[in-house]
């Protein structure tokens, strides 16, 4: 029972973790990407399209174990990368307003997700109208064989597909890069004060592009994880819900630290599903759904009250850099 609860908590938390880590990387460069929900939709649907087309092409024959994993992954990556490039081009190169661009990206990305989710069968001329990628999902959900024999412990630690572990690895990797490498130091500098970074010879444009695109790709994997591992390969429109916004909330909650983000995502995941497990009445269950936002809101106020520099958003967050001369 406990094992199963933690298992679903983690599964619920992983898409958020992807989104959170991706958005932290993006925001560290000073770009507030409110298009994250759209990016996660695109990441999810792109993987779905890849998997769908591959499954269609099989016509009943056995899939190639390598391709069935790599095709959705690559498609997801490409889809989110395009979103990242659109955002970077508009915001970094054309210096468009970040909030407006982000919201447009969300409109666009959610539109893409729902449009293809609702229309791909028809476009591909397939017979069934629902998208059910059980075959692909089985590969994505495959876990180590010995986990089943280890009771709760196995369920809590070893029972997930590889995307779950990848999320944690990426988050830890982001932490290491931020704190232990020169790239991380430069990225933090760009987000804090692009003018200073520029004067120190760091290419602000390059870092902003890279951070935004890498962040988007990571966030996109969150969408893919949701479909393939959490939802067992079933895509239904709008099922992903507000997870993208929740991931942005997580960034604040984790005070822009990916290592805190790991625990925070799982905590948020737990809150998300607590209502299903607590047999609570309607009001309480709706209240539990509110808790992540409420807690984040409180954290946001407290950090701004305390003004402790370590817990503040990157100084230049939301502001574009324009070196007027030279």
């Amino acid at each position: 029972m406990i094992g199963a609860f933690i298992h679903s908590t983690v599964l619920q938390g992983i898409p958020l973790m992807y989104g959170c880590t991706g958005e932290i990387i993006t925001q560290k460069s000073g770009n507030l990407n409110l298009g994250l929900p759209g990016v996660m939709y695109v990441g999810g649907i792109s993987g779905v399209i890849g998997a769908f087309l591959y499954e269609q092409s099989l016509k009943g024959s056995d899939p190639n174990g390598f391709l069935i994993i790599v095709i959705p992954l690559l498609c997801s990556l490409l889809g989110s990368l395009v979103m990242g490039l659109i955002y970077s081009f508009l915001v970094v190169t054309l210096r468009a307003n970040q909030n407006v661009t982000g919201l447009a990206m969300t409109t666009f990305g959610v539109g893409i997700g729902n449009f293809f989710g609702g229309s791909i069968s028809k476009l591909a001329g397939a017979e069934s109208t629902s998208i059910n990628l059980t075959l692909t999902s089985n590969y994505f959900r495959a876990h180590l064989p010995f986990a089943d024999g280890m009771g709760d412990f196995g369920e809590v630690i070893f029972s997930y597909g590889f995307l779950t572990y990848l999320a944690i690895i990426i988050a830890i990797g982001a932490y290491v890069v931020f704190n232990k490498t020169r790239v991380g130091l430069h990225l933090r500098a760009v987000g804090e004060s692009p003018a200073t970074a520029d004067a120190a010879g760091i290419s602000v444009t390059k870092y902003k592009y890279l951070a935004t695109c890498i962040g988007c790709v990571i966030a996109g994997f969150g969408g893919l994880h949701y479909v393939m591992e959490y939802a067992n390969g079933m895509w239904s429109n709008d099922a992903f819900g507000d997870r993208g916004w929740l991931a942005i909330a997580l960034v604040i909650f984790a005070v822009w630290k990916p290592n805190i983000g790991i625990l925070a995502s799982i905590f948020f995941g737990g809150l998300y599903i607590l209502k299903d497990w607590s047999n609570s009445s309607g009001v309480l269950s709706e209240f539990l759904k509110m808790v992540p936002y409420l807690v984040t809101f409180v954290v946001l106020i407290i950090t701004s009250m305390r003004k402790k520099r370590e817990y503040q958003p990157p100084e230049s967050l939301g502001v574009n850099y324009f070196r007027e001369d030279r």
Partner: protein, 385 residues
């Protein structure tokens, strides 16, 4: 040094006509790309698709009314956020403010419906709506004024808190667990707004026009509008001339909240007669785009909101007639937005291709500080904070 350099500089000002020509050009380009996309996905003639879009929005009298109604609602959302934007306060919380005021309306309607005089009921509903909307706008304003809490993030959170409060109310009021409020006072119609001239859309349209006029006058001619413009341009200057910056932030947000209150009231009492977490329908976010595309000019916002509504209603029609998902309209809208967002660059900056060692026009005392570069025309204010 390269033989040729691309040098980007801020433009002084572009003639208004030229700026709008660029924007219209961007829309045309976006429509071309959208048509191409349509062609690839559906194999239909793009021109006929565009025609279907227009027909989808204006084809029948009913559709015209729907389009006008939707435009009005979206316009009001845009008007609610515009004054705050002019102050460089990035309020993306109209969604939550409308939800809360819708909830206020519904609560009064639910509890007092049939118990008091219908006219009094409607007045109480309106008051409740405005109070709730203002409260939900007051919170981010006061924490911004007091602790400089990032308003984009706080309003974003408040949207979801509002949605969940609505859900909590529904869960409490409808114990069956269906999570559907149902039509309130279906039998008595208590608290339902009457249809003016026999048309339930007219009241909304009139309100939208009234609010447009109010916001236009307030920003352009009002003392309050002047104060918020100064605060948006330079907090230092505002303090220097004795403007109470904190109070201006709060007051401006209270106005936003009040407008949201009216929207919530109209939606619940006039259109839906029920409340759900989707009562605001995500328009709070779309409103940001409407206001921004119009350069925060309330009059221009009439057209930008209509553009978005036509796209979404019309393209929805296209998609469903082809058996495709109605979200196709979001993709087209997204493309148009991308082009509009991108084209601002060419209005605000000039690109010089020049031989090496050119003379850079810049200030001698230039301290190379980073400059915020919102896409908004300079004298219109509203650059990002």
């Amino acid at each position: 040094m390269n033989k040729f350099r691309i040098h980007i500089a801020k433009r002084d000002t572009m003639p208004v006509a030229a700026a709008w020509a660029i924007r219209i050009g961007a829309i045309v380009l976006a429509l071309l790309l959208g048509s191409l996309l349509t062609l690839v996905l559906t194999g239909k003639n793009p021109l006929s698709v565009l025609l279907t879009i227009v027909q989808g929005a204006f084809g029948t009298e009913r559709k015209i009314w729907t389009t006008l109604r939707d435009t009005s609602v979206l316009l009001m959302f845009g008007l609610a956020v515009a004054p705050a934007f002019k102050m460089r306060f990035w309020n993306i919380g109209a969604e939550g403010q409308v939800l809360m005021s819708g909830l206020g309306t519904a609560v009064v309607m639910f509890f007092l419906g049939g118990k008091i005089n219908d006219g009094l009921l409607i007045i109480l509903m309106l008051v409740a709506a405005i109070v709730c909307g203002m409260l939900w706008a007051f919170i981010p304003a006061v924490i911004k004024a007091k602790w400089n809490t990032n308003e984009t993030l706080s309003t974003l959170m408040l949207n979801y808190i509002a949605a969940q409060i609505v859900s909590m109310f529904i869960a409490w009021a409808v114990p069956s667990g269906s999570m559907k409020m149902g039509i309130i006072n279906q039998d008595t119609n208590a608290g339902w707004l009457p249809a003016l001239f026999g048309n339930k859309h007219i009241l909304i349209i009139i309100m939208a026009l009234l609010i447009t006029a109010f916001v236009f006058v307030y920003i352009k001619y009002g003392k309050g509008g002047y104060e918020l413009t100064v605060v948006g341009e330079s907090v230092k200057t505002a303090r220097y001339v004795g403007i109470k910056v904190e109070w201006v932030i709060i007051r401006t947000m209270l106005i936003s909240g009040a407008i949201c209150g009216i929207i919530g009231f109209l939606q619940v009492a006039g259109v839906e007669h029920t409340i759900s977490p989707n009562t605001a329908g995500g328009l709070g976010f779309t409103a940001v785009l409407v206001a921004w595309m119009a350069k925060l000019n309330p009059i221009v916002m009439i057209f930008t909101s209509m553009l978005i509504v036509v796209m979404s209603n019309g393209a929805g029609d296209v998609a469903s007639s082809l058996g495709l998902n109605a979200s196709f309209s979001d993709i087209l809208t997204g493309i148009i937005l991308f082009f509009l967002i991108g084209c601002e660059f060419f209005i605000n900056y000039k690109i010089c291709f020049s031989a090496k060692n050119d003379k850079i026009s810049s200030d001698v005392t230039d301290s190379k500080e980073s400059e915020s570069s919102g896409g908004v025309e300079e004298n219109e204010g509203g650059k990002q904070s």
